[in-house]
């Protein structure tokens, strides 16, 4: 199968869906001629024109609000939020408006919009351009949250998101835009709420989101050399969450690590770990272990930044200790 970058996969998904549905449009900062600073949207304005690939002023709350209104009245906006950190600016429009309108109207009004944004540290972009804020939106009922872990997922999930009748937030890992993966030429969609078992194993389950899937897979390779077979699972969407696939795996392996690049405390790993603990309690040899980013603002200095996020070595290390029973005694 041909290989394309995550950036190209996103671009293809957008182009295909915009061809398919004339009510779709892209709105955001420097999305047209510039194609975003990450160049993810290059070429789209040439095909669809500036009426459907709309450059906005630097008004995140404003253009998010416009998207909500357009979505409520018959269009399907795809919002480009340049950095995930800017979510803090649009929370009211996203969480007080978009997320609640369908419910508050008793099902009468829909808000079919997609918010594409990004996440991920180690780009030396410091505290306001490095956050992974998926936990915040996942907490708000009415929003769906997708976290593609490769070009394949990025395309399939985005297409599903665009056709979904609800507000969907997609977090792309900005360090993965140039990573290639096999992506079929034929059209495909990836349903929400279906986890992907990336690698089978019997000894331990590594549940990882987005950027952390690669980290888990690398850890699994290291572990395999030592005879530890790790199962790696990518939930793909954290809302809805495919709890069953995760639980089934953990019941089989009896040990689990949950890895996510958001801050650890009050983050994604807490939800997944506590659901697993609840549903697989009597199958577990040890409590589910959580690995998130450190609970510190992301520092600029490379030497500091690198220690804030989970690495394959750290995951493998924890997995080894879990499998050796070391943590069981420690607990």
């Amino acid at each position: 199968m041909r290989e394309i970058t995550l950036s190209q996969a996103v671009n293809e998904a957008l182009a295909e869906e915009m061809r398919r549905d004339p009510t779709t449009f892209i709105i955001g900062e420097d999305v047209a001629e510039a194609g975003t600073p990450f160049k993810v949207l290059s070429g789209l304005v040439e095909e669809f024109g500036t009426a459907r690939v709309i450059d906005t002023p630097i008004s995140e709350p404003g253009f998010m609000g416009l998207a909500v209104g357009a979505a409520m009245t018959g269009a399907r906006p795809i919002v480009d939020l340049m950095f995930g950190d800017f979510l803090f600016l649009i929370m009211d429009q996203l969480c007080n408006q978009a997320a609640k309108i369908h419910y508050m109207s008793g099902g009468k009004l829909n808000v079919p919009l997609v918010l594409r944004t990004n996440m991920g540290a180690t780009r030396r972009s410091a505290a306001q351009h490095s956050q992974s804020l998926q936990a915040l939106v996942a907490h708000i009922p009415g929003l769906k949250v997708a976290m593609p872990s490769s070009a394949y997922e990025a395309k399939g999930l985005l297409k599903t998101a665009i056709r979904d009748n609800n507000p969907v937030v997609i977090f792309e890992d900005k360090l993965m835009y140039q990573d290639k993966a096999p992506v079929p030429e034929e059209e495909y969609l990836i349903p929400f709420g279906v986890a992907n078992v990336k690698r089978e194993g019997r000894d331990i389950t590594l549940i990882a989101t987005s950027s952390m899937v690669q980290v888990a897979e690398k850890a699994a390779v290291m572990l395999a050399k030592e005879g530890i077979e790790a199962e790696v699972i990518d939930p793909r969407t954290i809302v809805p969450l495919d709890e069953k696939t995760l639980v089934d795996s953990v019941r089989k392996t009896s040990r689990a690590i949950v890895i996510d690049e958001g801050h650890q405390s009050y983050g994604v790993t807490a939800e997944i770990a506590s659901r697993l603990n609840a549903a697989a309690f009597y199958h577990l040899d040890a409590p589910v272990l959580r690995m998130g980013a450190m609970d510190v603002p992301i520092p600029f200095s490379p030497v500091l930044e690198d220690v804030t996020v989970p690495t394959p070595e750290a995951v493998a290390d924890n997995a080894r200790r879990l499998c050796s029973g070391e943590m069981i005694h420690a607990a």
Binding site: T23, S59, P61, G62, G69, Y103, M104, K108, G142
Partner: protein, 325 residues
């Protein structure tokens, strides 16, 4: 009054709609005071000429966004008493199946995109509705209602900038009733409100919000121009709310005098003024008007009774409508 008699039917409908709003509010207030209505609510009484003058210039395809003080907009845009009262009482037959209540009432069938409990929260929505119209080549116009207090929200300036850059068919209707909660407008708004819109290159107008014909005439013109792509526009409507900020705001003297309230009610009531004009111009007789009023009152009390007897949503509805299919 701004204009000579040209169309009695329109005038009578405007009058009717104003009285319907006032009557709706009186009943809602009564429901609240007798502890039959849950939650909090904000009365529109006194501001009827604004909602009616504007909404009478719109079709069902035109959209509005409303505010926490939203009953007036809802009635003016064509909503039905029964379904409104049902919503206020949290009943299944309400416009939002009881899930929205007073602060979120929406009426999709007449283009009311909903009240909003976030002050200024619907400014983006209204502008986005206008963007959609332009994008899809539809010729409807969207009116964004908001108060003087809401002009302090930065969102307004973000969306006015985009509306002006892209010439969107949206009309910003600022209902300046002199107060935001318990604070006078002068204390929270520096400079001139209309100047703020003009700074973005938006044509802005000030109009007496107690004069339904003046409001309607201006809006007619602007809606027509907006349909032709000459928008956006901004209107500041000078008006007054008769009740407290919300139904529980009874002792108001620390922020506004009884005299002030009395003078607005006695000298500038939009319904009384318009009624006088209708009679004077021979559009309707006193008797016809009284009959109309009585009929509306009956409609309202029937609707209240209906809503009181109506059933609550089934408990199973609690987790329905979180997500659309």
């Amino acid at each position: 009054m701004a204009e000579q008699k040209t169309n009695s039917e329109d005038y009578l409908r405007m009058y009717r709609q104003m009285v319907r709003i006032r009557t709706f509010e009186d009943n809602a207030n009564q429901l609240y005071l007798s502890a039959k209505m849950p939650g909090l609510t904000h009365m529109y009484s006194g501001e009827e000429a604004v909602a009616v003058g504007i909404c009478e210039a719109l079709t069902d395809d035109d959209r509005i966004t409303s505010t926490h003080r939203g009953h007036g907009h809802c009635v003016a845009k064509g909503a039905d008493f029964r379904r409104m009262f049902c919503e206020l009482l949290g009943k299944e037959e309400g416009y939002c199946r009881g899930k929205g209540g007073s602060m979120h009432i929406a009426d999709q069938s007449h283009g009311n995109l909903g009240a909003n409990a976030i002050v200024g929260g619907s400014m983006g929505i209204a502008t986005g509705s206008a963007l959609r119209a332009k994008l899809l080549g539809q010729d409807d116009v969207t009116v964004c209602f908001f108060g003087d207090g809401a002009t302090a929200q930065g969102l307004l300036y973000e969306v006015m900038n985009m509306a002006a850059l892209w010439k969107l068919p949206v009309i910003y209707a600022c209902e300046n009733n002199g107060y935001s909660e318990y604070t006078r407008t002068e204390e929270i708004a520096a400079g001139e409100i209309t100047a703020r819109a003009e700074a973005f290159g938006i044509e802005a107008f000030k109009v007496d919000g107690q004069d339904v014909l003046a409001v309607n005439a201006l809006t007619q013109k602007l809606v027509a121009r907006a349909r032709r792509g000459e928008g956006p526009f901004f209107i500041e409507l000078e008006t007054y709310r008769y009740h407290g900020h919300h139904v529980g705001d009874i002792n108001r003297e620390y922020y506004r005098s009884k005299d002030e309230e009395r003078s607005w009610k006695q000298d500038r009531d939009p319904i009384v003024r318009f009624r006088g004009w209708l009679v004077e111009q021979g559009v309707a007789t006193e008797e016809e008007i009284e009959a109309m009023n009585a009929e509306i009152e009956k409609d309202a009390s029937d609707a209240v009774a209906y809503a009181e007897a109506a059933k609550y949503p089934d408990m199973s509805e609690v987790d329905m409508h979180v997500y659309a299919d």
